[in-house]
Each structure stands twice: as C-alpha cells, then as structure tokens.
C-alpha cells in the first residue's frame, strides 16, 4: 500500500506544478514552477529506488533553471494576452482528450508493481542483476549497464551533449555572415 499511495501523492503534486507552469502569466514564476516539477520528479526517483537518477536529476535541474532564468530575467515581459484563435485551440484540446482517453484505456494493462522482467526470465535485466558484479566488476549495476553492457549508448549520449553545445555556440556567435550579407 505504502509506495503506491506516496507515488500518487507525488504525481498529483507534480501535475499541479506542471499545470501552474503552463497557465501562469508571468514568465519567471512559470520557470520557478518548472523547478518544482523537476525536484518533485527527483523525489519520485528516490522513492522508486533510483538514487543515481535522483542525484543527476537534481543537478541537471539546477543547471536548467539557471539557464532558463538567464534567458528570461532581463526580458521579463509578461506574456501579453494576444488573441486566441479558437479554432486551433479547440482542435488541440480535442486531440489531447482523444490521446488521454486512448492512453488511459491502453495503460490499464500495465500493473505498477510487476515489471516485465519478473514475468520473462530471459530478459537481459535478470542477467545484469545476476552476473553484473562478476562480468564487469562494478558493484553499481546501473553504472555497469551504462558503461559496459550498453557503453555504445553512452557514447551516443556524450555526442548528443557535445552536438547541443557546439550547436548552441554556432547559433550564439557574434557575426554570422561575412561580406555577402545574405539576402
């Protein structure tokens, strides 16, 4: 009983934070409520026995908040109430409701407590748990999965961060075009 109730409380707390972040007029308070959502999720990770993720989530969340506030602080313009095109809004709301309905109906099948690996013995995670220590020598099975069993993923992930940084540098450079001056 315990863990399910706690998770539902945390999820409702996060959902409220997200709805506030979406609907509030002032930009800075929207950014702050995103912080609320992020830290709520890192607490959820702790309850779900994922300490690795909780540390990374808190640290990444602070860096993200600093970046977001940096982008909005000097330009703290209230999101002006421009005209809402009702047609677009209605079809988006209908699309979201359809998605929610389909998702809720389809997700009944996933039981919270029984992961797929407990039903299927040949799943790779069972192997990781059994022979992780002996094969990779690392006691933290998550690190052994990241850096040894699926190290190729982490190479891809390091490249993603590298691409994002080089892309951000390329966009934020001072003068973009030389003499031609473009169109």
């Amino acid at each position: 009983m315990g863990i399910e109730l706690i998770m539902i409380i945390i999820l409702i707390f996060i959902l409220l934070g997200a709805i506030i972040a979406v609907e509030i007029k002032d930009l800075l308070s929207a950014v702050i409520s995103i912080g609320v959502v992020g830290f709520g999720i890192s607490i959820a990770f702790l309850f779900l026995q994922a300490p690795d993720l909780a540390i990374v989530q808190i640290a990444v969340e602070t860096v993200l908040l600093v970046l977001l506030i940096r982008a909005t602080i000097r330009r703290d313009v209230k999101s002006t109430h421009s005209h809402i095109n009702w047609a677009g809004l209605i079809c988006v709301v209908v699309l979201c409701l359809a998605l929610i309905g389909f998702g809720f109906f389809a997700m009944q099948e996933l039981k919270f407590g029984e992961p797929a690996i407990s039903k299927i013995q040949a799943a790779p995670s069972n192997h990781y748990l059994k022979e992780g220590l002996s094969e990779t020598g690392s006691a933290n099975i998550v690190t052994s999965v990241i850096l040894d069993y699926r190290a190729y993923d982490t190479l891809g992930e390091a490249t993603v961060l590298f691409t994002a940084i080089i892309g951000a540098l390329a966009i934020l450079r001072g003068i973009a075009r030389k003499q031609k001056g473009g169109k």
Partner: protein, 160 residues
C-alpha cells in the same frame, strides 16, 4: 555580471573546495555507489556556475577561460572514443572492457572495474566543461539596445 555582495563571495570561497571534492568523489566512486560521470560532471559544472555568479564574469573566465573549456569538452569526448577504440585494438571488439577486471580480492576496491573508471572520468570532464561553456556563452552574450531600437548582439572576445 560583476559579482554579488561580499557575503556571497566569502561563502562561495569557503564552499568551493568542498563542492569540487564532492564532484570528484562522485565521479571516482561511480562504480561502487550511486553517482558516476554524469552526476560528478554536473556538480562540478554547477560549482563553476556558482563562482561565475558570485565573482562576476571576468574572474571566472580567468579561472576557467572559454578556450580551455572548449578544448576540454572535445578532449573528454575523444578520451571516451579512444577507450572504445582501444577495446577494438586489444579485445578485438569495439567496446570491449579489456582491462583486468575483478582480480581476486578486489571485489569492492577503487580500481576494480576495468575501463569503467576511465570512462567515468572522461564523461565527467566532458559534462563539466560543456555545461560551463554553455553558461558562459549565454552569460557573456550581452544584448545592447541600439538607438534605432534594433538590438545588436555582441560577444566579447570573438575568436574569428
């Protein structure tokens, strides 16, 4: 961006050593306890961001200049790729964990997991320098409101 009040600066100077140690601890102990390259790198990146906020841009750039951050970023990624290709050389397979792993009695010692600590360190360097680079680029880029209302975008030292 010229730094905050002296109270913040003294606290930052005091706390700075502990955060750096904690980041390095997280990286090196990554394969024994929760932590690892990502967490350590992001903690060290947030240390530099804190120093930049506390002491202002000029001090932080002298402490960790932009050029060094850029090259450290690619050096970290290159080390990770070289470790992978070394596996190609020694173990014959691309990402083979070729170093000696669990020699007897090394169950939970620091160097017990072959290439995992090395990759952890490479990822820590990479994540720390790239996040600091992004913050410095965004903090440095001041937008100067020109008379005619259009905003001119000025980077400080252009490396063109």
């Amino acid at each position: 961006m010229n730094g905050m009040s002296p109270i913040v600066q003294t606290v930052a100077r005091f706390v700075k050593v502990f955060i750096l140690l904690y980041g390095i601890y997280l990286t090196l102990i990554g394969h024994l306890t929760p932590g690892g390259g990502f967490a350590g790198g992001v903690v060290i990146a947030s240390l530099y961001i804190m120093l930049t906020l506390a002491y202002g841009k000029k001090f932080a750039l002298k402490f960790f200049p932009r050029r060094l951050a850029g090259s450290l970023d690619s050096v970290g990624a290159l080390i990770f790729l070289v470790v992978a290709c070394l596996g190609f050389g020694f173990g014959g397979i691309f990402f083979a964990n070729f170093l000696e792993k669990s020699y007897p009695g090394a169950e939970f010692s620091l160097l017990s997991a072959g290439t995992i600590p090395i990759s952890n360190i490479a990822i820590c360097i990479k994540v720390a320098s790239s996040l600091f680079l992004v913050f410095i680029i965004m903090a440095v880029a001041r937008i100067i409101d020109k008379k005619d209302g259009s905003k001119e975008f000025k980077q400080d030292e252009e490396e063109e």
